[in-house]
Symmetry: C2
Subunit: 347 residues, 2 copies
């Protein structure tokens, strides 16, 4: 319905966000009651109340938080709103949990076009519906012009642990096989291509998506999943290095197997980036027990989101704490943790 996408705040009167929209008075109430509450209405969300009361849950819960400061706010394949829902839903999925509830804390910059805020809110609503999460509590602050950057969003999330999954760095073992659920580098390169004004024949779109269905599929298939990790900031390299260092194991990657799209490779070459350090927002690394990699791969590939999944490496007892890549030309090189700042404000 088109009417759903008409900004419910009169734009002639309030074309931009004012400091008073965050002041706790009439304009704050107006913003909440006209725009925010109707967008997320559900039985647990009470407007202007201090928090949500959650229904009792039989099992154990996961709790996570993430702030989103991506720039620009809107990019091919998504925007900061979608990202803030998917990112937090994915963090819960990486704990082996079904995402249930999220909070939404907005920090707006005075002068933000009201329509931009509305686009972000619509995205949050759509992404929450897709990811099967309810936005149950929220907060809005406004900072002076020049003291923020349009919109920052914090989403915190609560999920219910899936029975039968026990994931974490304590479970990594030499022999574990590593599957990546989708193409590498799309999110980061979509943002960088936009920022740098690189003209591409084929537009690169962010992969931002909720990966929970794939995690549920792995659990349902009865696979012995040892660790789940979404390679966001810092990319695949940082995610694997952190795991290797914390668990005292080594990792071997097979360069040939890495699903890096040609267009990602091309932009990385132009910008002097390594795709392994580029952020992803719609894939994850699943480390499964020795001998289960192929079955995990098949399980993931059955979903459209996992169509380009690949078995990319394994955990070793050798070189603990170090990630080594077997290169296409038959050599070996250490894939180090990123140092310095490759891609600022990518998520």
């Amino acid at each position: 319905m088109m009417t759903e996408f008409t900004c419910p705040i009169p734009l002639a009167e309030y074309p931009r966000v004012l400091l008073a929209h965050g002041g706790g008075g009439r304009l704050t109430q107006h913003l909440i009651e006209k725009m925010l509450y109707p967008s997320f209405e559900n039985p647990l969300l009470v407007p202007l109340h201090d928090g949500a009361v959650l229904p009792p849950d039989g099992g154990r819960l996961a709790f996570t938080t993430d702030s989103y400061v991506v720039q620009p706010l809107f990019f091919p394949g998504g925007d900061i709103g979608r990202l803030s829902v998917h990112g937090t839903a994915n963090d819960l999925a990486m704990c082996g949990a079904r995402p249930l509830f999220i909070s939404c804390g907005l920090i707006l910059e005075e002068g933000l076009p009201m329509e931009d805020l509305w686009r972000v809110i619509v995205s949050i609503r759509e992404a929450a519906a897709e990811a099967g999460v309810q936005v149950v509590t929220g907060d809005t602050k406004v900072v002076d012009k020049g003291k923020g950057d349009g919109v920052f969003i914090n989403t915190s999330g609560i999920g219910a642990l899936l029975p039968g999954l026990d994931v974490g760095p304590h479970r990594l073992r030499p022999g574990d096989e590593i599957v990546v659920s989708g193409p590498i580098g799309l999110h980061g390169i979509a943002i960088m291509a936009l920022r740098e004004g690189i003209d591409l024949e084929t537009e690169i779109r962010s992969d931002t998506a909720s990966v929970y269905p794939l995690v549920e599929a792995l659990a349902t298939a009865g696979l012995d999943v040892h660790m789940l990790r979404d390679p966001t900031r810092g990319g695949v390299s940082s995610a694997l290095n952190e795991m290797a260092k914390r668990s005292g194991v080594g990792v071997v990657l097979d360069e040939e197997a890495l699903p890096i799209p040609a267009e990602v490779e091309a932009v990385c070459e132009i910008l002097g980036l390594d795709p392994l350090y580029v952020a992803n927002e719609g894939n994850f690394l699943a480390l499964v027990a020795e001998g289960q990699g192929t079955r995990a791969l098949e399980t993931i590939r059955r979903h459209p989101l996992g169509a380009r999944a690949a078995l990319v490496g394994r955990v070793t007892a050798g070189h603990p704490g170090v990630v080594v890549m077997r290169t296409k030309i038959g050599g070996q090189r250490v894939v180090d943790m990123m140092s310095g700042e490759q891609l600022p404000r990518i998520c």
Copy 2:
């Protein structure tokens, strides 16, 4: 111990926060492992993991979120770190819940002095210990210089509903009596006096504190508490107006009874502010069943934090949606919801 307050990041090497501290690579890991994780270490907090797994809880849970953008970051009586813990713990208490777990999402501005960050972290740790909450998950982002304002903090919280308490706007009834648990206006005026450079004989200190012990005392005393509300942004006036409008009841306040400190009155006079619109961070409004106001007052006053509590008004069937004040000189005036922005970035 003095050593506890030495910044664990070498200041000669890193006197200021760099963009790379938020980039997901080596410096991010350094910041988390040297400063953040050791400050909040607890069995549920796993460094560099995507979320916390909470122990099973028998009862119902409350979930809340708040972002803190107060300026200046440090003020008499507290700082943004203390505020971010107390504020979220208090939101849970206002749901009738015991605060248990909080998340901590930091948005840092490039160039922030590392020592300022450390002071904030120490404050968060101290405030969490005082409030009896565990910081179980977190996130750190860094934005470019000029795109933030030192530190913004989002804390989200999970609490366990106290058995025997059922609070919310649905429970307000004509006859309910209104107790405010402590002096009015201290937080907002402490900030404003500092910002405006007003020289005071007696320093006004923010009241930032966790009010949960007072809520627990009311529950333990078996009082029939109908509604709890902390009058933060927008002050006592906005809190009461929101309640009156949502519940379709009227409110009568007794000006004579309001515990407004003389120094708050004085600064309000200088700045042309009304203390009823000024933010508080360490008191709350308790609305209890008719006839129970005095006992609620006595219960609250037994705690040091509630020593200056007062019975300040009641809920009426007349003038639904409107808050009326009986003035000291025997008149009546409507106390309206704040319109516009009186005190930007007060919390």
